[in-house]
């Protein structure tokens, strides 16, 4: 029986990053994976969707070439080629993880893993043992009882990124990041898209101003948005589906080729031996402490399978924290109030910290500033004037409570706010940080200036 310092169950951005860091720290490490290396993120999540969205973005440029003084004829997409490109990118990334595993001398054990008491892992009948077993089995698309996925007319995200034929009409249920990214992609490709959202606002976790702006942008792009609505029933028809949607004004029946269910995730905690070992879960999440230890010594859990936002960068950070602690390093616990969230639709959304509503509810007196890209020189030059940066400060001490961005490229701009908050900046330092001209990032400085009544370009 092979013996390791660390065995990681699952090779998503939680698992494989954990394994690399463990190996860097001198721990003998193995990772167990039943499918492709890289987990949902690389194979069925972050990466392939961003590849699809890049094709969509370029297609938008083709469609609007004239706005830039350019000429094209017969601009068209080849849907199969777009999907194929996305799969190619995902495969490339998965191969990259394979390379990293080898380079870091991490054993990859292929197969279905199950934890066992006595710090053992069974993989398809073969047993391995380790001093530390880290569960990183991730999650899958959640199914609603009213919306069972048959993989043909009602599909989840995996199918949605590998369809062989582009649907003419599509209903997307749920307007979280995943839902609107697909809505944005298919809309760009020419599919007629309707979004059905149960909450009053789309992208409901975002600041209300962002939600509003995003809804406007989506509608302008031709997407039908139904908020305060829920899909009650889906019936198969000859050519597709008929969905009964409950709205505030009563029931509506929509026809479509396909329904994409994007209503969240369900953790992979079944049949991996949790009960045998006696690990405690709470409403489908494994319970862990600040160092990702479960209730049973030697067993840890990180990533989507635990509480906290189901995001790749969170899974990775949790894994790194977990093994650095195991290796005896002095580590700080992750600050869950400072985790950026991004949506890569058109326009992009990026945010960190509290929304204005949350900050008010927390009892803060606020200084709020907002700078629209319509007033940005760079946005004018680039033809990307949709959106804004909104910043929220505590009026008393100047703490940067929240930053909310919507517009072109903002997913690469939010890092400034995350670092600034990490370093406990006040608005003053951001304002006096000379941002390069002309960039979209100037909008951060200007939004702060707006909060302090010193905005220049408004």
């Amino acid at each position: 029986m092979s013996k390791y310092d660390v065995i990681v169950l699952g090779s998503g951005p939680g698992g494989y990053v954990t394994a690399i860091r463990a190996s860097q720290l001198g721990l003998k490490t193995a990772v167990v994976e039943k499918e492709s290396l890289g987990g949902v993120c690389l194979n069925w999540g972050c990466i392939p969707t961003k590849a699809l969205l890049k094709s969509a973005q370029v297609f938008e440029y083709l469609k609007h070439a004239e706005d830039y003084g350019l000429k094209v004829e017969n601009a068209d997409k080849d849907f199969t080629a777009v999907v194929k490109r996305s799969r190619g990118v995902a495969e490339g990334m998965s191969k990259g993880v394979q390379f990293l595993m080898k380079k870091n001398k991490i054993d990859v054990i292929e197969g279905y893993g199950k934890i066992k008491p006595g710090k053992k892992v069974d993989v398809d009948g073969k047993e391995y043992s380790a001093d530390h077993i880290i569960i990183a089995t991730g999650a899958r698309s959640r199914e609603l009882p009213s919306l069972p996925q048959d993989g043909e007319t009602v599909i989840g995200y995996r199918k949605a990124m590998t369809l062989e034929k582009q649907p003419k009409k599509m209903i997307v249920v749920g307007s979280g990041a995943i839902g609107v990214e697909f809505a944005s992609f298919y809309n760009s490709m020419g599919t007629e898209v309707t979004i059905v959202e149960y909450m009053p606002n789309v992208v409901p976790v975002e600041d209300e101003d962002v939600s509003k702006q995003f809804e406007r942008s989506m509608k302008k792009a031709g997407i039908t948005v139904m908020t305060n609505s829920s899909v009650e029933k889906v019936e198969k028809t000859e050519n597709g589906v008929k969905a009964t949607v409950k709205t505030k004004k009563g029931e509506e029946v929509l026809e479509a080729d396909i329904v994409l269910s994007a209503v969240g995730i369900k953790t992979n905690i079944e049949n991996i031996g949790l009960e045998d070992v006696g690990i405690v879960v709470d409403s489908d999440k494994i319970i862990v402490n600040d160092w990702y230890q479960t209730n049973i010594p030697g067993y840890y859990a990180i990533g989507d399978v635990t509480k906290g936002p189901a995001l790749a960068h969170v899974a990775s950070a949790e894994g790194i924290t977990c093994v650095e602690k195991i290796a005896g390093m002095h580590v700080e616990a992750i600050d869950y109030s400072n985790i950026p969230g991004c949506t890569y639709a058109t326009p992009e959304i990026a945010s960190v910290g509290m929304t204005e509503k949350q900050a008010k509810e927390a009892g803060y007196e606020l200084k709020v500033g907002k700078f629209p890209f319509s007033a940005s020189g760079k946005a004018s030059a680039a033809g990307t004037k949709d959106g804004f940066v909104k910043v929220i400060f505590d009026a008393k001490y100047g703490e940067w409570l929240g930053c909310h961005m919507i517009g072109a490229g903002v997913t690469d701009m939010i890092a400034e706010a995350v670092l600034g908050r990490k370093l406990e900046t006040t608005g003053h330092e951001v304002l006096k940080t000379i941002h390069p001209h002309p960039t979209m990032s100037e909008a951060v400085m200007e939004a702060v200036a707006d909060a302090y009544g010193e905005v220049i370009h408004l």
Binding site: L423, E424, H428, E429, K432
Partner: protein
Amino acid sequence: NGNLFISPLIKSIAQQQHISYEELARIPGTGKDGRLRKSDLMQYIEEGRPY
């Protein structure tokens, strides 16, 4: 200088130069609201830690 904010860099320098929090608090800061900056601390060290 009671309301002292210590930037990561100040902390790093202070640790390696064995400068205590109390000693840091005595150094006049030139930043906004008296915030202690790297330049203040380096000058203080160059001057032979007068406070």
